[in-house]
């Protein structure tokens, strides 16, 4: 009995180590995010030169591109955690996956919104059903579906497994988004940024983009850690109740 009793607590041990660590990390990353974002926005909106084709409207890129990147990265991360939680049943992985989802959904939404706003001046329409845009919209639905399914199933264990499964199945979508501009001949811009060819844009634009991307990362880390802390607390309460009822 005492042997087996230890199992859940060992799993929580990692969570209880995590808690104070997160407490220290959250403010650091939040501050980092702020600083990076301020510098990045300054470079992007003030220093970077005006585009000879698009005028000033291209500056929306400094939000659009990092947000689009984040939307995909976060999904991949979520799917990875989902695999870990489904296969090895590590509870912390499930908590991380669930904490990532809202932020991922937010970045997806931002990418869609800024993309649509950008599309109006450049393509003359807010929306077309091209492969990249459609698959990005699908990504938003996947995030929403993941969260919806998670909260719809009242049993947490089953909820986490079902939602994790959905996340993994949905991961097929990410390569489709990424390679859609290569596989299909679409309206959306191809990759203008690659390390081998060097930059096809000015240094200021490049740095602004990179700084904004880093800022998004720092923000994501801070917010996700905070959310994970809240979830751990909530589940501790459940565990406490469970031990109480077992003693009955």
């Amino acid at each position: 009995m005492s042997m087996t009793r230890r199992i859940p607590w060992m799993k929580y041990a990692s969570a209880s180590n995590f808690y104070p660590l997160a407490d220290r990390l959250v403010p650091i990353f939040m501050g980092l995010a702020l600083v990076l974002a301020v510098i990045g926005l300054y470079l992007g909106f003030v220093v970077a030169p005006i585009d000879y084709q698009q005028g000033n409207s291209y500056r929306i890129m400094f939000i659009h591109v990092p947000a689009a990147w984040m939307s995909m990265f976060i999904y991949l991360l979520l799917a990875m955690y989902a695999i870990i939680s489904l296969v090895w049943r590590v509870k912390m992985a499930d908590i991380m996956a669930y904490s990532l989802a809202p932020t991922g959904a937010m970045f997806t939404f931002i990418a869609l919104l800024t993309g649509a706003l950008w599309g109006r001046p450049t393509w003359g329409t807010y929306w077309i059903w091209d492969a990249r845009l459609t698959s990005e919209l699908l990504l938003l639905f996947l995030y929403l579906g993941y969260m919806g399914l998670y909260s719809a199933i009242p049993d947490r264990q089953r909820a986490s497994r079902a939602a994790a499964f959905l996340a993994i199945v949905g991961a097929v979508n990410v390569p489709i988004i990424y390679f859609s501009v290569i596989w299909w001949n679409t309206l959306h811009q191809g990759s203008s940024f690659s390390f081998s060819e060097g930059a096809s844009m000015t240094d200021a634009m490049l740095y602004a983009l990179l700084l904004m991307a880093l800022a998004c990362w720092a923000y994501t880390i801070a917010v996700v850690l905070r959310r994970a802390q809240a979830l751990i607390l909530e589940r501790k309460k459940v565990a406490l109740w469970a031990s109480q009822i077992s003693k009955k």
Partner: protein
């Protein structure tokens, strides 16, 4: 034949039972008892592979059941709280459906229904049957199956005393012919064969 080792089941952080080890060989029966909510139903479902255990292993004829699922399932008959009857089908159709891929002649089905006391109403959609009649119908499968391991969750519920006798005689026959039986029931068993008792409450404490 059936061997359970170190089985533990959790529900939302709550350990229902742990360290459960039992084995069952041909002709043996096991009666699982325990309070309401002790985890009897959950245990039976775990044994069928419908629910996942937190730890421990179950093997059938020396083979892990989660690996050799099909082999295990062809030896297994499970009857849950629910009767698994389609309310819009009649007794005959339901019984045929319940037998799955097993092919059985029409006469055999008629005989089984008659034996279960449903001969006269075998053409009625089961929605019109009384609770006890529905339970009898799902128990009628026992007369036709070739499975060796029977797992029955509260089979006596809703049965009148005649039906209890009828069921008892079939369970005896199954055990005599080398079958295995695991059942739960809050009533004291009236089976004449001796059956081992597993108390989940004690296990748990």
């Amino acid at each position: 034949m059936l061997k359970i080792e170190g089985l533990a089941v959790e529900r939302e952080e709550r350990l229902l039972f742990s360290g459960l080890s039992v084995s069952l060989s041909a002709g043996e029966g096991l009666h699982i008892v325990g309070e309401n909510g002790a985890g009897k139903t959950t245990l039976l479902r775990v044994l069928c592979g419908l629910t996942l255990q937190a730890s421990g292993s179950i093997s059938w004829c020396g083979q892990d059941v989660s690996v050799f699922r099909e082999e295990y399932c062809s030896d297994l008959l499970y009857l849950g709280h629910k009767n698994a009857n389609k309310t819009e089908l009649n007794c005959r159709e339901n019984l045929r459906l319940a037998l799955g891929v097993l092919s059985v002649s029409d006469e055999a089905i008629s005989d089984a229904l008659h034996d279960a006391g449903l001969g006269l109403i075998s053409h009625l959609p089961t929605r019109f049957l009384s609770q006890g009649q529905q339970r009898r119908l799902s128990l009628a499968r026992l007369l036709l199956t070739k499975s060796k391991l029977w797992i029955l969750d509260e089979p006596y519920v809703a049965l009148d005393y005649k039906a209890i006798d009828w069921l008892d005689s079939h369970l005896e026959r199954h055990l005599k012919s080398g079958g295995m039986l695991i059942l739960t029931s809050h009533q004291t068993l009236t089976l004449s064969s001796k059956i081992r008792v597993l108390n989940l409450g004690e296990q748990h404490a």
